[in-house]
């Protein structure tokens, strides 16, 4: 069985940042592997180790810079990677869910996996919808927000984490797309050996043309028109001073509320 795991490098904003046009100015952004994808990668690698998967392939949509992040997935045990990008994708602005799913669909068509794992959401744009959209496009069954996974014959037995400390037990026929929730496993650190081996693993670069697509794929009916810092509705009292001074002020508020009284 072949497992395809989608990974995304996400940008995180520094504490103090500035917005330039329709995005945070690049000097205030730091890049990392999306938190949810770390768990998806770990789940995929474990399926390889358990003998369920013969091959684990990761796919990302991102510019050349992202290869560094993709190497981390390779260092943790993913066999090879595919990176989809070209100038048309780079110039398209915000990639909406359907667009991303269409790009991934073309990769699925080439790779023919039995199971696709994605993260529940990406921490930057937060759409939380790419995995299920992909499933619909490729005709796979799916489950969203999975925090436990067991494969048995052609069925994935999963737990879906619902609200309020309740989990739903669901059986999903394969082939399937599962969106993976944090906490499903303990993502490993890459070993030195893994990092060395990752250097020689393949990251295949694919353009729209390579995938049999063209620039119309990245034309989207959804366009971002503004980005701004939300107006805070906060009327919080912020205590000023060094740690000692602020602690004294906060302590007196707490005492007024009867906290810490013997």
């Amino acid at each position: 069985m072949k497992v395809l795991v989608t990974v995304k490098e996400v940008a995180e904003a520094a504490d103090d940042f500035e917005i330039d046009g329709l995005d945070i100015a690049p000097e205030y952004l730091e890049y990392d592997l999306n938190e949810w994808d770390e768990y998806a990668v770990e789940a995929a690698v474990q399926l390889g180790e358990d003998g369920h998967a013969d091959e684990v392939v990761s796919v990302t949509i991102g510019p050349e810079r992202t290869e560094e992040t993709i190497r981390m997935a390779l260092a943790k045990g993913v066999d090879r990677a595919i990176r989809v990008w070209d100038d048309d994708i780079g110039g398209a602005g915000l990639l909406d869910v359907e667009t991303k799913a269409e790009l991934l669909e073309a990769v699925v068509a080439e790779e023919d996996p039995d199971l696709v794992l994605t993260g529940v959401q990406a921490n930057d744009d937060g759409f939380g919808a790419t995995g299920v959209t992909l499933a619909e496009r490729i005709g796979f069954e799916w489950a969203a927000v999975v925090n436990d996974l067991e494969l048995e014959d052609a069925v994935a037995k999963v737990h879906r984490e619902l609200e309020g400390g309740v989990e739903e037990h669901t059986e999903v026929d394969l082939p399937a797309v599962l969106t993976i929730q944090t906490g499903i496993n303990e993502p490993r650190y890459a070993s030195l050996r893994g990092i060395r081996q990752a250097q020689s693993k393949e990251i295949a670069h694919q353009t729209l043309a390579d995938l049999g697509l063209d620039a119309s794929t990245v034309e989207s009916p959804i366009g971002m028109t503004a980005m701004y810092e939300p107006e805070t509705e906060s009327d919080a009292t912020i205590f000023e001073g060094d740690a000692e001074e602020t602690a004294v002020k906060l302590a007196s508020v707490l005492r007024e509320k009867g906290v810490g009284a013997e």
Binding site: V97, N123, D125, T133, E136, G183, P230, L254
Partner: protein
């Protein structure tokens, strides 16, 4: 033409977001000059339809098929309702179950999808407000399409409570069982155990800002000094540093203590969902832009490794 809102329910109860969807739907329907239709799929649809007979709703469509949520059934139901009603906007909840069917509905109907909207406006087309970068910024997106699918974040619209008198219509759905390829086999409560953080009057809650497991001692000492109970945000529990029954938030516990002291917690929407009802909220965070300060009553912009020991000292 209409606005179609799909209600959310679980194990016999409508979820709060259903009443909020009605508000969001009514506002859009008014802006569009169209009707508001509400659909409820599976479960005790008759009784749900009574609860959904709310102000501004023109018609409630009941789809009586199965007890619990199954996304394959939901997708087919909304597809069929869509072809009967051709709604301008299909509104769905951004709940865990919403995440499990709304994207498939949008894709299968060829509708652009805006997920996790916190505000909506219709003026020639849909403009939605969304957050990005872990709630540090807001964005507006415009949708250039005649019809659109939207999922709505919970807690952003006032729930509609006033009753109305919509028509209630049973919608006849023939489910293609060959397209139902997943089965719910049961439910499990996972946050049990000896401590119930929702009983506590004072919670000291710790987040990823604590960095390492061995640093937890710092907040434990503070909690002890204050006579408070220790709780946490999700990453602390995901890392296995504290048990699941200590987790505050959407997938953990909802707490409403007199005092909630958030230490090194950013205030992600799923966290806030579990603690925004606290009487007094206090945040200690190095990032002045952390969303937790938006709902805090008191705050210290500072390093927890300095502030927490200093605060503990005050109560020794």
């Amino acid at each position: 033409m209409s606005v179609l809102a799909v209600a959310d329910h679980r194990r016999g109860d409508l979820r709060d977001v259903s009443y909020e969807l009605v508000t969001a739907g009514r506002e859009l329907a008014e802006a569009l000059g169209e009707e508001l239709h509400v659909a409820v799929v599976s479960g005790d649809v008759e009784s749900f339809a009574k609860d959904l007979s709310l102000d501004g709703v023109d018609t409630v469509h009941t789809v009586d098929h199965g007890e619990e949520f199954n996304h394959d059934v939901y997708v087919q139901a909304v597809e069929a309702l869509d072809s009967a009603l051709e709604p301008t906007v299909v509104l769905m909840p951004n709940s865990v179950n919403g995440l499990d069917y709304a994207p498939a509905v949008a894709s299968s109907l060829g509708l652009p999808l805006v997920s996790d909207a916190v505000a909506l406006e219709w003026d020639d087309g849909l403009t939605a407000t969304r957050e990005m970068y872990a709630s540090k910024v807001e964005t507006t997106v415009e949708v250039d399409a005649d019809r659109v699918a939207v999922t709505v974040r919970g807690g952003e619209w006032e729930p509609t409570e006033d009753t109305g008198s919509p028509a209630v219509e049973a919608f006849d759905l023939t489910v293609d069982e060959s397209r139902v390829r997943s089965r719910v086999t049961g439910f499990e409560e996972v946050a049990g155990g000896d401590v119930d953080i929702s009983d506590a009057d004072v919670l000291v809650s710790v987040g990823r800002g604590i960095e390492e497991e061995e640093n937890l001692e710092l907040v434990e000492e503070l909690a002890d000094a204050l006579g408070a109970t220790l709780s946490a945000s999700r990453p602390i529990v995901d890392n296995g540093w504290l048990p699941k029954n200590r987790q505050v938030g959407q997938s953990g516990k909802v707490v409403t203590p007199d005092v909630y002291l958030a230490v090194g917690i950013s205030g992600a929407v799923q966290h806030v969902a579990g603690m925004k009802g606290s009487d007094t909220i206090i945040a200690i965070n190095t990032d002045p832009n952390a969303p937790i300060f938006d709902i805090a009553d008191y705050g210290i912009v500072g390093d927890l490794f300095d502030v927490v020991p200093a605060l503990t000292e005050q109560f020794r």
